[in-house]
Symmetry: C2
Subunit: 421 residues, 2 copies
């Protein structure tokens, strides 16, 4: 579905990016947002804080696109030149924008910091632009439009850029297209991106509205279903059958709609059924506990986690039997089971989940190789131990194995929660 | 210090990046590597898997640089066009590279997967190129050099790209410059980037060889000190006084040289003194335990971590006194102290470290606002409770507060370790 002939280029301005000091995460955020509203993207460019190269890059970008989104270069120092360069390109001047100047003064007052005059440079805005308020920093953004060309100027720090882009730029660009866009994100675990894509390729190719776009990350796939229509209700009506089609075709793999990630799905599901989970972690070393508690509100559903890296802790804190460890070893079906039971018992939680395995790089044997992980689940209605082999055979995959083991554990917790009415 | 007139552009090829499906981390890795060996970088470009746009981007890149590093587009499918496009530009043909074909066949045999003929496309290499072996995947890379122009072709997946770049491309480019480069990384905690930079600005500006470049991340700064010389020994001799200057000027802030991060510094320091640490976490929810256990070899120095999110767990598992929680609350100096003591006692570790605080977004009060965190340290020689205020006043900073609280805790563990002889 092509909503328009709009095409955009992202022009990131910042020597820190060229030096590799920071990773350019802004481009991914902007790309995803524009893709969702049907704006084509064929180029990303990064240039440093250099006036000539910036001007050249802007010329090239506008020669091949009608929309250019810049990030960075809005700060108070002399080498912050985004507004100057874009204003020049559009043939307008910079002028003090009093409301922005006032909020900069307020910001410095509030944090009791000394404001220097050059901070007001941030309130010098191109004449005739739409000023984008910055609710997370001092530099406002801007939108300039002239002769069918649109420049969007955004600050560099992601925590300032992202909300400004999502709350102010996307609605502005959407309005242009006279279309309303709505998306739902369907989250999959346990099926790879290529397997899912091959099952869905024909559907994806023949769908015009809504569209389905896959996004993969370590061990998971998210499908974003996006519809455009004249009203939000019409867009939602278009989305409904597509989301239902996915739910009916892949019930065993979908762990949530619009849930963001496994840990959020777990915390929400526990909340909904007034249940609690507790963790007993060996190879994941606290990673599952960390993921659960990163969700705001998790304290209502999570009281207790134990990282039992040593056998003594498995015995003394979790009550794993000495004979079990002796006979089967720490990395075993039996130990995983007793860890999950143990943490459930000591915490009083409804569900106990455990991991024990070999994350590498060392510690693997022929019998118990790197990547072997047991996940235990203990609950009133659902008890299971999963045996997983998570190695892909590459070097330095400790982080991958730990993360994926945690994902399997969280997914197993979701299954346990489903057994409760 | 300009080592040469070399300048490079990174040309990332991949529609997934333009769609925002993946974040372009490769560019940061390559940029940092080239900066370290004195190669200038003025542009990054991203294009999709489109032959015309790729060709145009390559023309533009070589019109302004003598080195172009591409990532992506080396795969087996028809839209993987990096080698074809670059070979065309250099006026050479592709030809089957038998050793690469053989390792692709071996790869498929080893994983018992069916190899299709198009996989051999990955072994079709530009005539006269240097083939870069891929030890973490199937697509080899290549270096082409002609008339002073150098094209470096690397695979897209970071776990394939990074080792190939570091182990094969950097040595190749270094050799060209007839200089040997050596770096040391000096890690700081407790001082901001701008504060450190302003104290060092004059030194940094007047230094030619070695150079000092700052890299900032959440709450930390790393200074990379890089020297070039004819031999490694000469380079090291140049580095020594610069690193010593930093150590003598900022002894209270430097937590390690070439240690990568706080958790690695902690694990190494514990190893060196044969000590163990245990964690009792409330607001960090397992994050410290997760960070310690992400370091390979941590099992020798870490047996036990407890996430005590609920008061009952603080009491029952860690032995925090009921009266303490009643009188001072869970977020208090006293509770932090008893948590650290408790986990040290139950684990038998030499050092206990605890956190209790308010990570937000909810749960803050006037008296105990979001961002208030206590870090407790319990050990034979060093006992302390730090009171921290980690909020910057922005929305959605839960992750930031949790991470930074963990960094303060790890830094405090380093201080405790220093007290042991």
């Amino acid at each position: 579905m092509t909503h328009s002939q709009d095409s955009a280029e992202i022009l990131c301005i910042g020597t820190e990016i060229l030096l590799g000091n920071i990773v350019n995460t802004n481009s991914a955020v902007i790309s995803r947002g524009l893709a969702d509203i049907g704006i084509n993207m064929f180029h990303h460019t990064v240039v440093g804080d250099n006036p000539n190269r910036l001007k050249d890059a802007l010329d090239i970008a506008f020669s091949r696109n009608n929309i250019v989104v810049t990030t960075g270069g809005l700060g108070p120092t002399y080498d912050d030149l985004s507004k100057e360069t874009v204003a020049d390109y559009f043939g307008v001047k910079l002028k003090l924008h009093e409301p922005s100047a006032q909020s900069i003064r307020t910001f410095f007052d509030r944090w009791k910091r000394q404001m220097t005059e050059n901070n007001l440079k941030q309130a010098m805005m191109p004449e005739g632009c739409i000023v984008l308020e910055n609710r997370n920093g001092t530099a406002p953004g801007a939108i300039l439009e002239k002769d069918g060309k649109i420049a969007v100027l955004l600050p560099g720090p992601p925590r300032e850029m992202t909300p400004m882009f999502e709350q102010q730029v996307i609605p502005y660009l959407q309005k242009r297209s006279q279309q309303v866009f709505r998306s739902h994100c369907v989250y999959f675990f346990g099926i790879g991106e290529s397997a899912l894509e091959s099952k869905l390729r024909q559907d994806i190719e023949k769908m015009q509205n809504p569209t389905i776009a896959p996004y993969a990350k370590e061990g998971e796939v998210m499908l974003r279903v996006t519809a455009s229509a004249h009203t939000a209700e019409e867009a939602e009506a278009l989305l409904k059958p597509a989301v239902e089609m996915l739910q009916s075709r892949f019930p065993q793999y979908i762990y949530g709609i619009d849930v963001e990630n496994l840990q959020t799905a777990v915390v929400r599901a526990l909340h909904a059924k007034k249940l609690k989970v507790a963790t007993a972690e060996s190879c994941t070393g606290g990673y599952i506990s960390k993921r659960i508690t990163e969700v705001a509100g998790s304290s209502a559903v999570f009281d207790c986690g134990v990282t039992s890296y040593a056998n003594e802790i498995k015995e003394n804190l979790l009550g794993v039997k000495h004979e079990t460890l002796q006979k089967y070893g720490a990395v075993s079906h039996q130990t995983a089971k007793e860890m999950a039971d143990g943490v459930r018992r000591i915490s009083g939680a409804d569900i106990g989940v455990s991991t024990t395995g070999i994350a590498g790089p060392d510690g693997g044997t022929d019998e118990k190789p790197v990547g072997l992980v047991y996940v235990g689940i203990s609950s009133e209605w659902y008890n299971e131990v999963l045996e997983l082999q998570l190695s892909r055979g590459y070097a330095s995959e400790r982080e991958f194995i730990r993360y994926l083991a945690g994902s399997h554990a969280l997914n197993a917790v979701l299954k346990a929660i489903k057994e409760y009415q």
